[in-house]
């Protein structure tokens, strides 16, 4: 017999480990979705930084290239409430709350992004 008792035990332990990682990973991923800070960039430079977990809703005015953008933080989420840009694409983006989520207003040069616990997904796709 090629497989010894130790082999079988070893393989069983590995499979159980795989199952545990699968279950644990899925539950952890489900609960830990939200970012905890929002960073506002104007002209590529960091202008403001706020916690997402504020008790009261907060309005932030940011001076961009065209005029003042109005950013709202409420219930652990952030959105572009008003922007002086012509198309209002940034306002159409809606609420963001996950690490790596980003609102970009190109005409007004304002970027709003959510950051997590220092662990952001910097690469979308990796092809080696």
């Amino acid at each position: 017999m090629l497989l010894t008792r130790y082999d079988k035990t070893f393989i069983c332990i590995l499979l159980i480990l795989a199952l545990l990682i699968f279950i644990g990973g899925l539950t952890a991923l489900g609960s830990n979705k939200r970012g905890n800070e929002v960073v506002i960039l104007v002209n590529g430079r960091e202008a403001e930084r706020y916690s997402l977990n504020l008790k009261n809703p907060k309005m932030i005015r940011v001076k961009g290239m065209l005029g003042e953008s109005l950013i709202e933080i409420a219930n652990g989420k952030a959105r572009m409430l008003f922007s002086p840009c012509p198309n209002h694409n940034c306002m159409a983006r809606g609420w963001i709350d996950k690490p790596g989520d980003i609102i970009v207003c190109v005409p007004n040069r304002v970027v709003v992004k959510v950051v997590g616990n220092g662990a952001e997904n910097k690469i979308d796709v990796f092809n080696g």
């Binding site: 090629l2 082999d7 199952l19 990682i21 699968f22 952001e120 690469i123 990796f126 080696g128």
Partner: protein, 193 residues
């Protein structure tokens, strides 16, 4: 003492043949066997050669052979000094060391199949850890681990069976007994179970 006198020529030739076989398997695998759609999963048939080296040769020969095979193979496939090469090299190094340790201390308890599975899993674990530490920087990549472990168990078992077939036949070839390490290891191979 000349360089050739230091080395047994027969042993050197066998090592060179195994190195060539390993390189060919490496190239075949990375160029012509894109069987699985999930990234990170491959057959790992190069591991057969590593296992044979582990059974018949010293740890120095194993590690050197595995490194040289990865470097030459990646030169041919064009991935030299890319991230893929880094993954390849570190995976090969760690899995070779793990299999050497398992063979030296636990052979008889574990068969070649178990050792092969351990090598495959450690290969994957190394690459996953490197990917997490260097490129992805997000723990979510650990969700790929169950798939990789499942694949490693299956392909590792297949490779172990093939390596075992080879080792059983190679025992009767006198050239394999030429080196000191081979004699020690072969006695161990005969005393199994």
């Amino acid at each position: 003492m000349s360089l050739l006198g230091f080395y047994d020529v027969k042993k050197m030739v066998i090592l060179a043949l195994l190195f060539a076989a390993g390189t060919v398997l490496y190239i075949l695998e990375s160029l012509y066997f894109p069987v699985f759609l999930i990234p990170g999963i491959k057959l790992g048939i190069t591991n057969i050669v590593t296992l044979i080296l582990v059974v018949f040769f010293s740890w120095r020969d194993c590690v050197f052979n595995a490194m040289a095979r990865t470097i030459v193979g990646s030169l041919v496939t064009g991935s030299f000094f890319t991230p893929a090469f880094l993954f390849s090299l570190s995976g090969a190094l760690v899995s070779t060391i793990i299999m050497l340790i398992m063979y030296k201390f636990f052979y008889g308890k574990f068969s070649l199949v178990g050792i092969s599975v351990a090598g495959a899993v450690s290969h994957n674990a190394t690459q996953l850890f490197l990917a997490e530490a260097l490129f992805i920087k997000h723990w979510g990549i650990i969700l790929q681990a169950p798939i990789l472990i499942l694949a490693a168990v299956m392909t590792g078992a297949i490779n172990g069976v093939i390596a075992n077939l080879f080792a059983e036949r190679a025992i009767s070839i006198p050239e394999f007994e030429n080196s000191l390490s081979a004699k020690v290891n072969l006695r161990r191979f005969d005393e199994r179970f």
